[in-house]
Amino acid sequence: MHTIYYSENAKIDNFANRLKRSHCVFYPEVKSCEPSKETDYSYKKFNHQQHLVFNPYRTIEPLKAFFTYPCEKVAEYFISEKEVVLPSVKAVVIGVKACDLAGHKVQDFVFLEGVEVDALYRIRRENTVLISSDCTDFKKVCHCLAWEIMPYPLDGFDLNLSPLNDGYLVEVGSKKGQELIEEFREFFTPAKETQIAARKVKREALVERLKRHLLPQNLVARNSVQRLMKQGYALDTWKQFMLPCVECGGCNLICDTCHCFLLSEKKAGAQHEKLRSWDGCLYANYARVAGGANPLKTRAQRLRNRFVKKFDFFVDNLGMPACCGCGRCIEVCPGKIDIREVLKDLDKKLAATS
């Protein structure tokens, strides 16, 4: 059981303001607020003496954007191993949600494990404090529960905030989090049993609401997706759902688990650089090799590749499907391709033929 503290709103504001002296602090801000639409939240840099905004659900941006960038320099020609300097900024990200943390397990697996560690990613990971928070509401596209992810963080955070009355319960999830509490002891008092019980009630109430929202959607079960990929490979679902795809790659880029990148070169005066850019498997040239051969020639093949990677490859290699139910890809798609509907279509067609 993690240690839990309580802190009043004003103290949390002070805490964030104090963190700002030693860290770049990012926190969610209201991005768009039209009464007819859902309010969106977006990360901003915390500047002056400010009040923290609590985001009831996830931000627009995926968490990965703090650890790999859409396009950045990763190496220079030619420097020796000793001369390599990895830029390191100490950062705090506030308002991360459980879906982001679940998705981030995929990023950690890719960049921190395997044959080699990505040093740039690792240093950013080490220098970044993740302060997550419970969801108190959800977006229409949210479906974390379908992936057996609760709408409140259980692990993967340094500190987690649960709003309660005029303050927050602050749960410690790591050594890094514990050190911050000790450094800023004046802002935190140990939580009372009654407060922890109240948090439980609030959490359960949200889960019930989210369940009622998801039940009519009849989403496929988490443990069936690998079977859907293996048995549904030749179904016409892929062709049917790719028709409105405009190959913008938005679904890939906004995805918390999508990690693909392309290395490229940049002429920078006398000094040449190696760049790393986010890539997406929905782009036509994603798998193309020199000479022109392309194993993913059609949009249907590429859409299928995205799903097979998430629901077959990662189940085999990481033991979990690479979807956290954040629904960002659903919101971003100009063709209204819905990951939930693709899975349901495969399931329905396979059930009809068996």
Binding site: F78, V84, V110, L263, H272, R288, A293, P295, Q301
Partner: protein, 271 residues
């Protein structure tokens, strides 16, 4: 900490013209660089582009690395236009390479198509270096026309070695060509090997590997005894960038050499 994307500087020391479209580049790295046969490197023209290649030289030679390259794309056409002395970047080596320990005591059939003989030449150097460990080496090579044959000077020498049997064929002959004419599959009949202890190592264009694989299965090779090189768009070389996925594997870190046994249930492997 080690930056996995850092290229090591190397100089192009020599350029050997193999065919009108294929050249061998002799690279001299400025830092220590060792590879196992079958592993690949990422070779870059600074500021221009990077592409994966499997060295064609003897891995026991530590000072230089040969890379035999066909002119097919952006990086390769610029490399072909370059002259000796230019600096290039290398990263790696990546991948698992050929599992030489699995080949001990075996009859080893090596089937190459076109520039696909390049990585196999590196393998041959490794096998020749410890020929007593292996029972027999049978080389079967196919090129489009006689002038597309690479390592023309070296091949006759290979067939003179003990325990080595070499045959070459061309898809289309020409008046002076006295050798075999036909696809490489036509010289895979009646292989002088004992199928109970034979392995086959294949490298070439996907379409060639597809038919060679079919032929080898047909003559009685087990799927676990056929080793295939997967050509994919390998960008990082380390299983991170995602491009070279083959089923549950990445060609770069789990391959690029796989047995057909590992690949046979994966869709569209020859595309």
């Amino acid at each position: 900490m080690k930056n996995i994307y850092r290229p090591i500087e190397a100089t192009v020391e020599d350029i050997i013209e193999e065919t009108p479209t294929i050249k061998t580049f002799v690279l001299r790295p400025k830092e220590r660089f060792a590879f196992k046969t079958g592993q690949f490197i990422e070779l870059s023209l600074p500021g221009i582009g990077e592409a994966p290649f499997t060295p064609s030289s003897d891995p026991n030679i530590k000072e230089t690395i040969d890379v035999t390259i066909m002119n097919v794309g952006k990086v390769t056409s610029l490399l072909h236009a370059a002259s000796g002395g230019i600096p290039v970047g290398i990263r790696g080596p990546y991948g698992k390479g050929y599992p030489l320990e699995q080949f001990a005591g075996k009859d080893i059939v090596i089937v190459g198509g076109g520039v696909g003989l390049a990585p196999l030449r590196s393998l041959l150097f490794s096998l020749f270096g410890e020929i007593d460990k292996y029972n027999k080496v049978v080389v079967r090579y196919g090129a489009r026309t006689p002038k597309d044959i690479i390592y023309k000077q070296a091949i006759p020498g290979w067939s003179k070695k003990k325990k080595v049997d070499v045959a070459v064929t061309v898809d289309v002959g020409e008046p002076k060509w006295k050798g075999n004419v036909g696809l490489v599959t036509t010289i895979l009949k009646d292989l002088p090997v004992d199928l109970k202890k034979a392995v086959a190592i294949v490298c070439g264009p996907p379409i060639m590997m597809k038919f060679v694989n079919m032929k080898l299965l047909d003559v009685g090779f087990k799927p676990s005894d056929i080793y295939l090189s997967m050509e994919k768009n390998m960008s990082c070389g380390l299983g991170k960038c995602g491009h070279c996925r083959v089923g549950k594997f990445y060609a770069c870190k789990d391959g690029p050499v796989f047995t057909y046994e590992e690949l046979k249930d994966i869709h569209d492997i020859w595309d």
